[in-house]
Structures are given as structure tokens and as C-alpha cells.
Symmetry: none
Subunit: 222 residues, 2 copies
DNA sequence: AATCGTCTTCAGGCTGGCTTTAGGCGGACT
DNA sequence: AGTCCGCCTAAAGCCAGCCTGAAGACGATT
């Protein structure tokens, strides 16, 4: 079971290397992002443990580049903060799992076992709907060659629709995905954002890809 | 993909239920620990989402009891605090994964997918009647290559007929399926919608796939 | 402190789907 | 043939649901 550990803190890297080695992993260590990317590209690992805060190239970028190069090795990201946003960001750039520092060794082991059991599955990172490309890693999207900047909330709504392109997504579902669960404001806010999105991704292009299905929700189509 | 959700916060439970249902999960909900344990024992679920803080019996106990009874259904625990200790404790009692509240919907979904070990999503399948394709997820249908947009009610009626293609479906049955139980208006409304459907899916194509069976109901055929 | 951008609320206006109504058609039975 | 009954469909009113501009709240940045 070959593993690549990309971690710049020497102390932590050594501890993990010795611990995991005794669990049966053959561990290679890279100490910065660029080395990590290079090693991951050159060798076939069974799993990659990737710190987010790295010199020379951060973890998100390394992850995104690997996925862009169609490398689907399971990746577990180590996020420094424990904000929900970081977690989602990690998963969106194509990571298979993440762990917030500080973490316990037992937990890391359990997660690694789960990942290696599963094997890597192909999962494209950016979502394409017709000529509209949605880039979860960059919180932005493109219509053809034109780049469109979106606010986080706008993006969350668009993302929710794009993940299920061609299907009707209800307002309630969009609320649940783009707002946190404790939100209990006016559901009308979804309409407001739909309106804003149309003004950005449809109207300027004379399109109408964001369709209202009265009494049911919205649908994003090519 | 059958799922048991054990969660006492009604609002959260409802949000999750509707969201996950649209992802292809058949969700049962239990509102306290004892009910959850009972339901998990009686039915064969593919995955269990288990809150830790529950009335009548906490999540750790439920989890431990299930494992003691040799029930190995994958369990994802929802821990309230985010201390490492709780996470380890969750894994120790036999949970397969955990998530700290508050969590994001996206993350939950990714974890559930991992647990059920199924890359693709179980999506509602589209029904085909001759060259007429009915797409429940998108609330629309296609005759050959031509896309036809339907209102929710029109779709509900067509869906009711398509699910039993070739059979006669009575007006009463259509009423029961497309209208809610408390509806006590004119049954003639079914005829109105049949008429509308014919104008959309038959007349423009010179077909007559929607047949009236006098005194019995309607039949959709290829 | 001031400015900017984002999130959220609110309210007015409007669209379009739902339902009812009513007149007409045609098959079935006497 | 005549009559009855079930079905068809066009038309119109109603109203829920949706759209959108404006403005306040809030936080981030300078």
C-alpha cells in the first residue's frame, strides 16, 4: 500500500511516517507543494495525504492540478482551519476526504483505511452545462470565453443547480444546500438570487438557461 | 438506497429528508434514540445517519447496541461538539464515520456516497412509451427529439398514465394521484387536463396515444 | 472612520397555471 | 330515430407564486 505524504512540518511528517509505516504503508514524503505534485505525477500511489498550507504551492492547487491531469488517486486533505467552507472547498477541488487539524491519529487511520478500501473513482472537477463552465475551485464561471464573477452565495445556488443539470431543483433544496441549516429567513431569498444569476449568466448573452418551473423549482439546462 | 435518519430536531430532519430524497435515497426518520434503534433493527437499511444528542437514548448507545446485535449497517454519526475526543468515541462505538455540527450539506452528501460505496447517483429513471420519453426529475417529456414542456399538473397526470402504460387508468385514480386527498372539486378537471395533454403530446405529431375508454378511464399506449 | 460589496428583507406588480363553466359532439341504448 | 349520458374543449376569472427594484443591515477592507 503506497502512500504519498505532502507535509512541510518536519516533526509531524516524521511522526506520521513512522506510525503509518508500522501499519503497513510504504510512505514517501514531499515537503512542499511543487515536489508533491511532481512525485504524485511520477509515481502510482494508492493514496495521497495532502496538507493545505504548503510552501511553493498550496494543497488546493496541487489537488486541482492532479485532477486536471486525470490523476484520480484518492486524496485526503489536511485543512488548517475547521470552517465548513474549507471542507467544502477541499471536496470541490477533487479531494475525496479531509481532516481538520489538529486531528487524532486514530481518526486519520480510520479515514485512510476507508479511502484505500474504496479505490479512486473518476470525478471531474468543473461542471459544464452547454457553454457554461462552472469552476468550484475558483468560485467563478465562464460563458464561452467570457468570465463571470459571482458572489459566494450566487455561486452556491448556481452550483446546486448545475450539479443536477436538466433536473428540477426545488427552492427548499437550494435553501438547504446554499444556506446553512439554521437559516429560517424568507425563502424568497432564493428568488432574489435566481434573479441575480439570470442577470449575470443569461441576460447578457440572450440566453434563458435558468428556467422556472412554476410550483416545482428551477432547472438549469444547456 | 434505503436510509434511516435519527434526528430529533424536526426542522433539520425535514430539510435532510427532502434533500436526500431528491438524491435518490429513500429516507425513514426516527425522532429519538429508542425509535431509531427499533427501526434499525426491524428494517434493512443501506446506511444510518445518527445524531449523538437524542432524547430517550443517545447516539453512542444506539450505535453500540446495533453492533452488539451484529448489525453492521454503515453508520454516520453527527457529533455536536467538534472535539477530537468525540470523534474517536464515535468511531470506537462502531460508527463508520462522523460529522461535526454544524456541517454543510455538500460534505454530508460526499460522506454518504463514500459510505454507500456507490459512485453514480441513483436517479429516478425516465419512463419510455414508444417514442415518448417522460423525465420525472426534469418535469418534462420528449416526443422523439422534440422537447415538450409541461406544467406540474399536466406532468402528474401524464406520469400517472405512463407508469401503467397500456392499462386503463380511471379518472378517480388519476385524481387520487395528481391531486391531493382533500380535493373535492369537479372531477371534470381530469378531462380538461387530458385535453391539454393531447394538444401537447399528440395533436402536433398526428398521434393518438392517449385513448379514451368510455366509462372506464384512459390508456396511454405506444 | 469611511467606503465598498454582499446578504437579506420588503412590497408592488405581474405572469401564468388551476379551476370552473358552459356549449357542443357523438356513441349507445331504447 | 330519438334521447340520454359521458366526454371534449374553448374561454375566462381567480389567485398563488414569482420577479425585481430599492433600501437597510452587516461585515470587510482601506
Amino acid at each position: 500500500m503506497r502512500m504519498l505524504l505532502v507535509e512541510d512540518e518536519k516533526r509531524l511528517a516524521d511522526l506520521l511516517r513512522s506510525g503509518l509505516a508500522s501499519e503497513g504503508f510504504a510512505v514517501d514524503v514531499a515537503h512542499d507543494g511543487r515536489d508533491g505534485l511532481w512525485m504524485a505525477s511520477e509515481n502510482a500511489y494508492d493514496v495521497i495525504v495532502l496538507d493545505v498550507m504548503l510552501p511553493r504551492m498550496n494543497g488546493y492547487t496541487v489537488c486541482a492540478r492532479l485532477r486536471a491531469a486525470e490523476n484520480w488517486t484518492p486524496i485526503l486533505m489536511l485543512t488548517a482551519k475547521d470552517g465548513v467552507h474549507d471542507e467544502a472547498e477541499a471536496l470541490d477541488t477533487g479531494a475525496d476526504d479531509f481532516l481538520s487539524k489538529p486531528f487524532s491519529y486514530v481518526v486519520l487511520l480510520a479515514r485512510l483505511r476507508a479511502l484505500t478500501r474504496r479505490g479512486g473513482g473518476a470525478r471531474p472537477v468543473s461542471i459544464v452545462v452547454g457553454d457554461l463552465a462552472i469552476d468550484p475551485a475558483g468560485l467563478r464561471c465562464r460563458r464561452g470565453e467570457v468570465e463571470i464573477s459571482l458572489t459566494p452565495k450566487e455561486f452556491a445556488v448556481l452550483h446546486g443547480l448545475a450539479r443536477r443539470q436538466g433536473e428540477v431543483v426545488s427552492k427548499g433544496e437550494l435553501l438547504a444546500q446554499a444556506w446553512d441549516f439554521s437559516y429560517d429567513g424568507d425563502p424568497n431569498i432564493v428568488e432574489v438570487y435566481i434573479s441575480a444569476l439570470r442577470r449575470k449568466i443569461d441576460s447578457p448573452f440572450g440566453r434563458s438557461s435558468l428556467v422556472t418551473v412554476r410550483g416545482a423549482g428551477y432547472r438549469l439546462e444547456a
